[in-house]
């Protein structure tokens, strides 16, 4: 599904950014060199990905571009379903406008823009204190040095020429918003599968409408999903809570455990966790354990 590709692609980019970032930190590279390395990795990944897809297509004998007959037939949505999706789209649009037009960023306890600006101004990673611009006197925790989001944002800023504030407060939150809706769409498909006898399409549409409403309703304090999405979309915790976790949940429901495991290193690269033991790991362990226990109970019951 498109949503799976989008989020998996984002995780791959986070992974590449982490690789470039860690290499630069360990080898003491300048930021400019790190950006070049990151750009090279992304290009290599794109070429490699395209190659793997092409080989797969050739082997399966499918055409590169689907013809008219190959396209899945689009079903016309029902009236209620259409109305619900329209409301959902309208709310999504208002959130997009809110992020793009409003000065809505909540920066208490956050210094991403200053950190990104420091990387660009000093041409070095974590060498100067972002709050003052002077070199660190006592240094920073080693766990912090692993986090790659500032490097990713600074690389985007360098490659696109946009200011750190625009990249961090506008571009990334928009990407997070779109990815979050993609993750919740996948979750709706997992929660209401086609095998359901009831009106699963209507339920999916209703689910998306309620999710989009919840984002507005929950925009009242830090830590709430809506607030994080609309006022802090660049933060690692937001990406984790609103992109990785809904996707992880949908993968758990679809029993795609290998893809689900991808979320754990992704979280470790973007969120300050207890040395990697973050929310995704605990979530996956609990969901896995419950499903295994339930499976065993069913097995014992049947036998």
């Amino acid at each position: 599904m498109f949503g799976d590709f989008l989020i998996a692609g984002e995780i791959v980019i986070i992974g590449l950014a982490a690789a470039a970032h860690l290499t630069a930190v360990v080898l003491g590279w300048s930021f400019s060199r790190c950006v070049l390395f990151f750009a090279g990795l992304v290009c290599a990944a794109l070429v490699g990905g395209a190659g793997v897809l092409s080989v797969g297509r050739i082997r399966s004998g499918k055409p590169f571009f689907p013809g008219k007959g190959d396209k899945p037939a689009l079903r016309k949505p029902g009236r209620t379903e259409g109305c619900l999706y329209a409301v959902s789209a309208l709310i999504f649009l208002t959130q997009l406008i809110f992020i793009c037009m409003g000065d809505t960023n909540y920066r208490e306890g956050d210094m991403t823009v200053e950190t990104v600006g420091s990387f660009l101004a000093a041409d070095a990673l974590y060498q100067v204190n972002p709050m003052t611009g002077f070199p660190y006197t006592q240094g920073i925790p080693s766990r912090l040095k692993i986090l790659c989001l500032p490097t990713l944002y600074a690389s985007l800023s360098r490659l696109t020429g946009l200011s750190p504030a625009i990249v961090v407060w506008k571009v990334i939150p928009v990407i997070t918003l779109v990815s979050s809706y993609a993750a919740f769409t996948l979750l709706s498909v997992s929660l209401f599968p086609e095998t359901d006898r009831d009106a699963y399409r209507e339920k999916r549409a209703c689910f998306m409408t309620v999710v989009s409403l919840l984002m507005w309703v929950g925009a009242y304090q830090p830590g709430m999903d809506g607030f994080q999405l609309l006022c802090g979309g660049w933060m690692g915790v937001t990406i984790r809570n609103l992109v990785l976790l809904p996707w992880l949940l949908s993968l758990c429901l679809r029993r795609k455990w290998i893809y689900a495991a991808l979320c754990i290193p992704a979280e470790a690269c973007i969120v300050w966790t207890l040395y990697g033991c973050g929310v995704c790991l605990l979530f996956l362990l609990c969901m896995g354990t419950i499903q295994v226990c339930r499976g065993m109970r069913g097995f014992l019951h049947n036998s």
Binding site: T80, G102, D103, T104, R107, E108, G109, D110, M111, E114, G117, S118, A121, N129, P130, M131, T132, G133, F134, Y136, Q138, G139, P141, P164, F184, F192, D198, A199, K203, C206, F207, M208, V210, V211, L213, L214, M215, V217, G218, A219, Y220, Q221, P222, G223, M224, D225, G226, V237, L245, P246, L249, C252, W272, T273, L274, F283, C286, M287, Q291, R294
Partner: protein, 323 residues
């Protein structure tokens, strides 16, 4: 552990003060467990219910807070609960099933829809956020305007700025090329978790003096009579001020570091002078100082003398630049 327990206890109250989405989640969970003919996705239901209980009960909440490290507050343990997903799931099931039971009749469905909508909206804070967005926007606009003019006037120069807080806190986000003697982490303690660096007392004194200047316009700041021993920074500041003036500061007469007529009657008071602060700022590498436009003539004159430069007007501030 006691601290974690205390935080978990107060955290729950704080978490539910502004909005009631956790309460809505609990209602939805009850509906999903007991309000439907057929139960689906039981593992998800079990997980969400268990995690919700763990987040509410202080002991388990404290354990979860230990797991997520002290870096995060209580509200972040709720990341473990798929609150939005399960709430939306329950409401979607409730609404579609009620509609199906009533054969899609709008006369019956419409009131139910409105009821759910009202419930959802009232569980939020109806638009009021925890911080004043408009005030923040206005502050930022004003600070950016000043900083842009500074950057334009002294483009190519490496500025180290010392200014009132409302300008300082936006300086580094506007232009990371500007250096500061102290940053946002002086007031936002949470930001100090990102480094082991700490500000010495002299730097804290600079911030206090600048804020005092912005509020009163006076050049000298009298510290609160705490009755405690004077801090090293203040003592140094006082001595340096005297040295800079070449004589005992007149402004301090009867007030500075002099106890009252009898030491028992009045606690020790101390004055931090403009000259002492300027000297300390220059030691930090400051080469650009902004003071509030409300500063007294005496303060401006003393600043000019201390820096051996002339004041310029800049958007309601006095600007002093030295090379």
């Amino acid at each position: 552990m006691a601290e974690y327990l205390q935080n978990a206890w107060t955290g729950w109250t704080g978490y539910t003060d502004n909005g009631k989405l956790p309460a809505l989640l609990m209602a939805v969970l009850l509906f999903l467990w007991f309000g439907r003919k057929r139960r689906e996705h039981t593992p998800l239901l079990v997980y969400t219910s268990l995690m919700t209980i763990c987040c509410v009960l202080p002991v388990t909440a404290a354990l979860l807070m230990m797991y997520q490290t002290k870096f995060y507050h209580y509200e972040w343990i709720w990341s473990l609960v798929p609150l939005s997903a399960v709430t939306a799931w329950g409401l979607a099931c409730g609404w579609t099933e009620y509609r199906a039971e009533n054969g899609g009749q709008w006369k019956k469905t419409a009131p139910f829809t409105l009821l759910l909508l009202a419930l959802l909206l009232f569980c939020g804070s109806l638009g009021s956020a925890v911080w004043d967005r408009d005030a923040r926007r206005e502050e930022r606009r004003a600070a950016y305007s000043v900083l842009e003019q500074l950057s334009d006037r002294y483009s190519g120069e490496r500025l180290c700025l010392w200014a009132p807080w409302e300008v300082m806190e936006y300086a580094r986000e506007k232009d990371a090329g500007i250096l500061l003697p102290y940053g946002r982490n002086l007031r936002d303690g949470f930001l100090n978790a990102y480094s082991y660096d700490a500000y010495p007392e002299e730097i804290v004194m600079l911030e206090q003096w600048m804020e005092h200047m912005s509020m009163t316009g006076e050049a000298d700041m009298e510290t609160a009579p705490t009755g405690k021993e004077e801090t090293g920074a203040e003592a140094v500041a006082g001595e340096k001020a005297e040295a800079a003036d070449g004589k005992k500061a007149e402004a301090a007469d009867g007030e500075t570091a002099q106890p009252g007529n009898t030491e028992e009657e009045k606690p020790a008071r101390h004055v931090i002078t403009l000259e002492a602060c300027v000297e300390k700022a220059l030691e930090q590498g400051v080469n650009c100082i902004l003071i509030a436009g409300e500063a007294s003539e005496d303060a401006v004159a003393r600043m000019e003398k201390a820096l051996d430069t002339k004041a310029e007007a800049l958007e309601g501030y006095y600007l002093f630049v030295i090379y």
